[in-house]
């Protein structure tokens, strides 16, 4: 096995305990603490005891906890997240598979927006002049305290309710109902491209603008702060002193400095992606985005514990996967790393 392949395998193996721990915590919180979830769901409704028993049996809640723990885990590995407690006979995985592409699309574009915004303002906070520098610094420090629904609603007001642009940007959903799109992957951008549907592509992109920018503004500040502090450090380092002493122009120097800055920042991206998924939940609710976040909110209102559990555990697996990818990128980026 090549050393990179071995490294990836090892990293993947390391993610297992981490995901297991989260699984356990979520299991304890959602299965153990509520006592009898069935009673909790049905609440005050008067249901005959034999009916309750039937529901418990169907959901596997009659078995001992440790058995539930293991069986559920085994199920998850086969992408079986159990059955909804509210919608009889409907596997939770169906809902997840249905909603996940929307969340992924939003997360990817939100991620891109945050990186672009974060890099630009991070550099501006160090190298900018006058008010631009002050603004970038202020953004770097306080940008992440913008409450996502709030900034989203402000954008909606500014670009849709009382638009300052000559047109209104869409503020809800992923695609206008009058635009037809054949679903292939569920990722509308990809689908509209592979079916050659240009009007749909434009419509889908327009729907993505405000949610992605919302996420980007809030999460970009974390990058801005990181870029700012690392870039400052690199610019004050011996490396840059060496470049400067050789008469290297500032613009080249900044490029080399940025490259050195990026190495520690990439490691942070995995963690940042997790925060991004959290932010996506709030963004989706604000923009009626039919993703996992809205799914979660719907099911919280219905107290559909199996669905909540499924979504949360799915997120845990996603985050593990992302951190693996980030680690590999990091290893490839820095020539000093030996796998």
């Amino acid at each position: 096995m090549g050393s990179l392949a071995r490294y990836i395998a090892l990293r993947a193996a390391l993610i297992v305990p981490s995901v297991l721990i989260l699984y356990t915590i979520v299991f304890v919180v959602l299965r153990v603490i509520p006592g009898d979830p069935v009673l909790a769901v049905l609440g005050t409704k008067s249901v005959p005891p034999e009916e309750l028993e039937r529901i418990r049996e169907r959901l596997g809640l009659d078995k001992p906890l440790y058995q539930q723990y293991i069986e559920y885990l085994m199920g998850v590995l086969r992408l079986d997240f159990g059955e909804s407690m509210v919608y009889t006979g409907r596997p939770v995985w169906n809902d997840i598979a249905d909603r996940f592409p929307a969340t992924l699309e939003l997360a990817v574009f939100g991620f891109l927006a945050s990186v672009v915004l974060g890099l630009a303002s991070g550099v501006a906070a160090v190298k900018g002049r006058g008010p631009i520098r002050a603004l970038a610094n202020f953004y770097a420090v306080t940008g992440y305290t913008l409450f996502i629904p709030w900034i989203g609603l402000i954008l909606i007001y500014v670009f849709a309710v009382n638009p300052i642009l000559p047109f209104r940007l869409p503020v809800g959903g992923r695609i206008s109902p009058e635009v037809g799109l054949r679903e292939v992957t569920g990722l509308y951008i990809v689908d509209s491209i592979i079916t050659g549907n240009i009007p749909a592509l434009i419509d889908v992109l327009a729907h993505l603008v405000l949610p992605s920018v919302t996420l980007g503004i809030v999460l970009g500040s974390a990058y801005a702060r990181l870029v700012r502090s690392h870039l400052r450090e690199v610019l004050a380092s011996e490396i840059v002193a060496g470049y400067r002493a050789r008469g290297i122009p500032e613009i080249l120097l900044l490029r080399h400095a940025l490259r050195n800055t990026m190495v520690p920042i990439v490691t942070y991206m995995g963690l940042q992606f997790a925060i991004l998924l959290g932010g996506a939940v709030l963004t989706e609710t604000t923009f009626s985005w039919p993703g996992l976040g809205t799914l979660l909110l719907e099911r919280i209102e219905l107290r559909d514990y199996t669905a909540i559990q499924g979504v949360v555990i799915f997120f845990a697996f996603m985050i593990g996967l992302v951190s693996l990818v980030v680690d590999v990128i990091y290893a490839l980026l820095d020539p000093r790393i030996r796998y």
Partner: protein, 320 residues
């Protein structure tokens, strides 16, 4: 003269008030000459050295005086001209930890070649890499190393590569700021041999900053001793260590153990270096000087000059 510093004053803005790190220093270096600036921490020796290629931190300002390199007064040049005409081109710099100046993410050849191309000394990448290889050979590193990353080199090779980068543009003056403080004597001796060889090969002038007066005496033509931002004494290396004029130089010599000299306990200089935000009046050395009189407290000491070109700033210069 390759370098002519005249009446240089450099001030730092600090949180607790301004500080004159260099206060009225004049110094000249001829072609192929090696001058060492000797002093302790806070003497202003590094500030003096880094002011020549104008590489001082942002909170430092040259308040007075001139620095002429090959007739160009660098205190009057803008950033762009400094970059194009001075840094790397007229003055090469070797920093305290030379190896740390290499970019860990780029091949060393690319780093040297980049400077050559930016300064128009090579028109193609191939040519630049060839010249970079030449520079490596000059410092005793095999030219194949152009394609190595810094982490693939040994510590000693990294130091040499950093020196190669400093001389690749064939500057007239090499400023070396304590390049061997972090090193052991055996390695130090070899790096000094290398600087000596480069001086001969390239007719290079060298300004070495060091706290080790014995090292300075062994290697340089002339020594300038600094104390608290001022020049205490300057002149031919041999004369200074045999018969110093300034009591501080005497003290420094007495505080330095000498393996091949007499086996005696070194004598410390009493007291400690002054706070430059609030320097002593008159001669700055007077609170620690065994010969100090009331005169020393009140007035700046005069210049004492000898025919050999030696000068010292003292009311009570020592006689041999």
């Amino acid at each position: 003269m390759v370098l002519k510093i005249d009446g240089l004053i450099i001030e730092y803005r600090t949180l607790r008030g301004p500080l004159k790190a260099v206060d009225g220093v004049s110094l000249a270096i001829g072609r192929g000459e090696w001058v060492s600036v000797v002093g302790e921490s806070g003497s202003g020796k590094t500030t003096l050295a880094l002011s020549i290629p104008r590489l001082l931190p942002a909170n430092a300002t040259i308040v007075g005086g001139t620095i002429e390199i090959e007739g160009v007064d660098v205190t009057r040049l803008g950033e762009d001209e400094l970059r194009r005409r001075v840094r790397g081109r007229l003055v090469g710099v070797v920093f305290q930890e030379p190896g740390a100046t290499l970019d860990p993410l780029r091949r060393v050849g690319d780093q040297i070649a980049e400077a050559l191309m930016v300064h128009g000394l090579a028109s193609t990448k191939e040519e630049a890499l060839r010249l970079a290889g030449d520079a490596l050979e000059k410092v005793g590193v095999p030219r194949e190393r152009v394609s190595s990353y810094p982490f693939q080199l040994s510590g000693g090779q990294r130091q040499r590569v950093a020196i190669a980068a400093a001389i690749a543009l064939e500057p007239k003056l090499l400023v070396a700021d304590e390049p061997t403080t972090a090193l052991d004597v055996v390695v130090q001796s070899r790096i000094m041999d290398l600087l000596d060889k480069l001086r001969d090969d390239m007719d290079l002038s060298i300004l070495l900053v060091t706290h080790d007066i014995a090292l300075a005496a062994e290697r340089s033509d002339r020594i300038a001793v600094m104390y608290a931002g001022k020049l205490a004494e300057e002149g031919p290396a041999g004369e200074i260590v045999i018969g110093p004029l300034h009591p501080y130089t005497r003290g420094l010599l007495d505080a330095t153990p000498d393996l091949w000299g007499e086996r005696r306990k070194p004598k410390p200089i009493p007291g400690s270096p002054p706070d430059l935000r609030n320097p002593p009046s008159g001669c700055r050395f007077h609170p620690r000087c065994p010969l100090a009189t009331s005169e020393c407290k009140e007035r700046e000491p005069p210049e004492v000059r000898e025919s050999s070109g030696r000068r010292a700033y003292c009311f009570h210069p020592l006689t041999r």
